[in-house]
């Protein structure tokens, strides 16, 4: 029974990683950029929700504001920092992403101090638990799982069934050819960033409900783990990111439950190293030929 309970814990943590890993994977799929600022967008989402609820405004509005805030921020970052570098070498883009990440962390520290703020999670999801025999499932867990599943289902539909999704797939396949076919590449890229950020915003709310604390560095480790999840699943692949997230969350909880807590973070990076050595394309990634 305790094993089942631990699996549920892993599933919850994993589904949050999945949502965030999706943003990494989609952006990489389309412009070959490891967007290291993605984790910090989550931190911004957490602060937006926290400040709005703190101002006494209805939590539902705070959730919407956090998600919209993340989306707008991601689009602004894309336009201001990444778009001008579209033709630059990929390494410049990567360094810019790291710079944006530091920028966001330090601005947050400047404006809101480095001290962790407690997140009013009970205003969003009340502390209620359901007991099934000796199994204990909290409302937060149920909501997290449900929201993650619905978001991923919607994303799958969006990518596979809509015109915009088709454009996204086309641009990631071959940007030049897509442009020749009359697809607005810039708009498609911005759209991809926006979708990734919406998922990050949802992830931010779910994360803060489970771990009710926000600090300027909240997104750093979370982003790193989601990045590993994306690589594990096969970077660029949407179902891969979902699987990778669940696997990383599960691995972390199992390591903690077995008592090897000092290794909890190390295991995640060991997984990254093993994947890169053994199967760089991850679970579901495609081998891509280097374009000449």
């Amino acid at each position: 029974m305790i094993v089942l309970q631990q699996l549920i814990n892993g599933l919850q943590l994993g589904s949050i990683y999945s949502l965030i890993a999706l943003g990494y994977s989609m952006v990489y799929g389309i412009i070959m950029l490891l967007n290291f600022a993605h984790g910090d967008i989550i931190m911004v989402g957490g602060y937006i929700a926290l400040l709005i609820i703190g101002a006494g405004i209805h939590p539902a509005l705070a959730i919407v504001a956090a998600i919209v805030g993340c989306m707008v921020l991601a689009c602004v970052i894309e336009k201001a920092a990444y778009a001008p570098l579209r033709k630059a070498p990929r390494i410049s883009l990567l360094i810019t992403a790291i710079g944006v990440s530091f920028f966001l962390e330090n601005v947050a520290q400047l404006l809101l101090s480095a001290n962790p703020r407690s997140f009013p999670n009970t205003a969003i999801i009340p502390t209620v638990s359901f007991s099934l025999g000796s199994l204990n499932i909290s409302l937060t867990t149920l909501v997290t799982l449900a929201v993650a599943i619905v978001s991923m289902a919607l994303l799958t539909v969006l990518v596979n069934r809509t015109k915009m999704g088709k454009a996204m797939r086309a641009v990631s396949e071959d940007m030049g050819a897509a442009q020749l076919m009359g697809i607005n590449v810039n708009r498609t890229i911005t759209f991809t960033f926006a979708i990734g950020a919406i998922l990050a915003g949802i992830g931010a709310i779910l994360y803060c409900c489970k771990y009710p604390q926000v600090k300027p560095t909240t997104g750093y480790l979370l982003g790193m783990k989601a990045f590993v999840a994306a690589v594990l699943g096969g970077i660029g692949s949407i179902p891969g990111a979902m699987l990778g997230g669940l696997a990383i969350g599960m691995a972390e909880v199992i390591v903690n439950a077995l008592g090897y807590t000092t290794w909890a973070d190390a295991v995640v990076y060991v997984i990254l190293i093993i994947v890169l050595l053994v199967k760089p394309t991850g679970f579901l990634g495609r081998t891509m030929r280097e374009k000449v």
């Binding site: 309970q5 892993g10 407690s118 204990n136 771990y211 909880v253």
Partner: protein
């Protein structure tokens, strides 16, 4: 061009004037201060020069908040003592040195304080610099008392089996908290089973945890689950699920308040019903948790509680508020006040012994008097054991109805 020159000249003139002013002040206060006590008329032979004591601690830098609080407490006591006539008709002159929380600067500070002629030092504030300074001060035989360094290594070097006999403290030590909470769980809460979750990357947390475990074993309090986490971790669901499966009576959390907030929320999710027990790192925990119901019924120990209704604490609270614009003193203020108090009590005995002020015998007399301390202070009754560790009581704080209530001294 001429205008600029004129401006510069004017500025220089102003500066010169300012310098002259401050010079004047320094010059005029010194001579007037000496005859001020007026002791000469009462006892012609008495020495009325001030007794110099040092304060060594961080007043700027990352741990300045602790240093400033301790200094506020020390100053309050010294000012009160001076207002009441000082010791043996001599005023106390407090010399402060800011070591910025750095061990190397603390040693420089120690030497600089000795050069300025202090006979004893209140400090250092944090464990690292304090350990560095005591290694210097022990051979010198300089009487020292720290208000806040809690590691056992401050007064006892286990490697060389040396007790630093010149070093005392007004705070309790890390092992004491672990042992106290184990006794409290067993004797007062009548707990049969206990679980622990600690931070394995933090010396404070692991230290307190180890002493809790050894005391629990000694008492017969059964430890059903011992779990840990790496510093900075946010997910404790795996560990808490393991603990919840054992259904312990109490859960001991020797961790800081920010982590307590994360643990408490996930403990509720894991369906944990144990009474939570904490340590002094829990102070201000109610500000950190999202819902005070999560820590309802918890107990934690502290060096001092502002909710203590004892006469000494109440007097300290009102004196402190009067001196510092109505502020409420925290644990560091109270321990700083006590450190100065214990030291000044000892200096009074050294003065009475008739030894030459500032001599090695005089300092040895202060040390002997501190060692013999056995009375009530703001943070409880203090006496010292073989390792110069204070034998004192802890204030137990109980969280009831979303508020911190003083349960009692234990």
């Amino acid at each position: 061009m001429k205008k600029t020159l004129a401006l510069v000249l004017a500025l220089v003139l102003c500066l010169g004037l300012l310098a002259a002013c401050s010079g004047n002040k320094g010059g005029s206060t010194a001579p007037t201060a000496a005859p001020a006590p007026g002791g000469a008329t009462e006892a012609p032979t008495a020495n009325t020069t001030p007794i110099k004591i040092g304060y060594l601690g961080p007043l700027t830098g990352g741990v300045a908040q602790y240093g400033i609080a301790v200094q506020n407490g020390v100053k309050l006591y010294v000012d009160q003592l001076n207002a009441a006539g000082g010791i043996n008709g001599r005023q106390i002159d407090l010399v402060s040195y800011d070591e910025e929380g750095d061990a190397t600067k603390a040693i420089t500070g120690y030497n600089s304080l000795l050069d300025s002629g202090v006979v004893a030092i209140v400090g250092d504030v944090t464990t690292g610099p304090c350990t560095a300074v005591v290694a210097e001060a022990y051979p010198d035989g300089t009487p020292m008392i720290t208000a806040s360094a809690t590691a056992t290594s401050i007064t006892y070097n286990a490697d060389t089996n040396t007790v630093y006999t010149n070093m005392f403290r007004s705070c309790f030590i890390d092992p004491f908290q672990g042992e106290t909470m184990a006794r409290f769980a067993y004797d007062v809460l009548k707990a049969k089973t206990a679980a622990v979750l600690y931070d394995n990357g933090d010396t404070y947390s692991t230290g307190v945890y180890e002493y809790f475990v050894s005391k629990a074993n000694e008492l017969g309090l059964e430890l059903v689950a011992v779990e840990s986490y790496a510093s900075g971790a946010v997910d404790f669901s795996g560990q808490l699920t393991n603990i919840a499966a054992k259904n312990p009576d109490v859960l001991f959390l020797p961790i800081y308040y920010n982590d307590v907030a994360l643990v408490a929320s996930q403990a509720a999710d894991a369906g944990l019903k144990a009474t939570m027990l904490g340590v002094d790192g829990w102070s201000s925990v109610l500000d950190a948790v999202t819902d005070t119901a999560l820590v309802e019924g918890a107990y934690y120990c502290s060096g001092y509680s502002a909710a203590d209704t004892g006469a000494l604490v109440q007097k300290f609270l009102s004196d402190y508020a009067a001196a510092y614009n109505g502020a409420t003193p925290n644990m560091f203020d109270a321990q700083g006040y006590d450190a100065a108090w214990i030291l000044c009590d000892a200096i009074a005995k050294a003065e009475a012994s008739g030894k030459t002020y500032g001599s090695d015998e005089y300092k040895a007399e202060i040390i002997a008097a501190m060692k013999a301390t056995d009375s009530d202070y703001v943070t409880g009754h203090v006496s010292y054991d073989d390792h110069n560790d204070p034998q004192k009581t802890a204030a137990i704080i109980n969280i009831v109805g979303g508020e911190e209530k003083f349960w009692g001294s234990y």
